[in-house]
Symmetry: C2
């Protein structure tokens, strides 16, 4: 009972869209959503405004709001920008990172490895995201951190489908170790370089991303829920 149901609804809807609960281009029905959340149309509409600015939804005057899943080209572009942001965060973090943060990175990486061996996809995703978030924070640039988090959150469902290929996980782990070492050594350029390549979409990753896009969002969600 926050007194701001609109914000809760915005967060809820954002999660649903990112998880792929709606098909691309689907219209969000104010009335049905209001009934679903047991509120009036007003807070639902306020939530729509937020979603439209973050690009998750397109608002067409007098027509309604439609969920807008990024197409293949836009996805590639977003990953390209993400790679550059991570590289930048890494370059900054290399000269600023604390010993505690380095420990946290190693712990997160170990947890990733353990999760891989245990076949625990959920934990893997969580710890992997944490690993990267630590680097954002250690960049010492709070604005960059915020932008990186925003983009990471937006790309999260697509990254999942990408990481499902088991073959890449060992390499991904190895790259994590290279990143930690570069950061520990204060080697900004290596940290930036490895991070950029780590995040960038290239080679086989590209094809897997494309393949995942041919599934419907519902399919993606079902696969994710199944855990790989």
């Amino acid at each position: 009972m926050n007194g701001r149901r609109a914000d809760l609804i915005a967060t809820e809807l954002e999660g649903m869209i990112l998880q792929g609960d709606f098909t691309n281009g689907e219209r969000l029905d104010e009335i049905k959503l209001a009934e679903k959340f047991e509120v009036s149309r007003t807070p639902v509409r306020e939530a729509f405004q937020k979603l439209s600015l973050s690009g998750l939804v397109e608002q067409i005057p007098r027509r309604g709001v439609f969920v807008r899943q990024p197409g293949p080209i836009e996805l590639i572009e977003m990953f390209e920008v993400m790679a550059e942001m991570e590289a930048f965060a890494g370059r900054l973090a290399a000269t600023r990172i604390s010993d505690i943060a380095l420990q946290d990175l190693r712990r997160a990486n170990a947890a990733c490895e353990a999760a891989t061996k245990a076949g625990d996809a959920a934990t893997y995703y969580l710890e992997n995201e944490l690993f990267h978030q630590i680097i954002y924070t250690q960049s010492g640039n709070a604005f960059l951190e915020g932008e990186a988090l925003r983009l990471q959150r937006r790309l999260e469902p697509f990254r999942r489908s990408q990481l499902r290929l088991r073959g890449r996980m060992p390499q991904s782990m190895a790259e994590h170790k290279l990143i930690v070492n570069a950061l520990a050594d204060g080697d900004a350029e290596t940290a930036a370089h490895v991070l950029r390549n780590h995040v960038a979409i290239q080679g086989e990753k590209f094809q897997h991303l494309m393949a995942s896009l041919r599934q419907t969002p519902q399919d993606q969600r079902r696969l994710s829920a199944a855990g790989g």
Copy 2:
């Protein structure tokens, strides 16, 4: 008469905040703004949602929305990210830029120089922004272009106060030429490097930015309107 007054109000308010029409921390009064725009509170509130997500305004439940001008540290951080984005756009553009775009860059730069000589600040700012926007577009990455535009727009008023120092304008023009040459040569690394330094805040620019922050937003606007 779009049928979406809320969007118009959002744009209007965004402009007012960016121009510094409100003091930092000032509360935006729903009722007064509704009267000012001659609408009810509903579209004003919908506009608030958008502003809050873009960070121009902070929304505190049951308290209201307050304009949030970035402080010195956040500004530095934003310029740092902007510099990196421009560098990345330049690196991409170097291998993709069209001959027509190169012509446009040279034209915009010439217009900048002419405006400087004529003491026409407004034209200078406009053409300078155009110069950079051409590079965003020529990066070939529409997502990057959008993000860069967003940040450019957010930083615009602060960049103005920074460029007011006449002494830097010749150097800025020279840097523009270096950028154009690097792009024309397809020299991605040079383009990236020069653009990063061109946008970054360092040395005397830093002090001027700090000095401009000691003025109230109203003062800044008055100075801008006066044209330098």
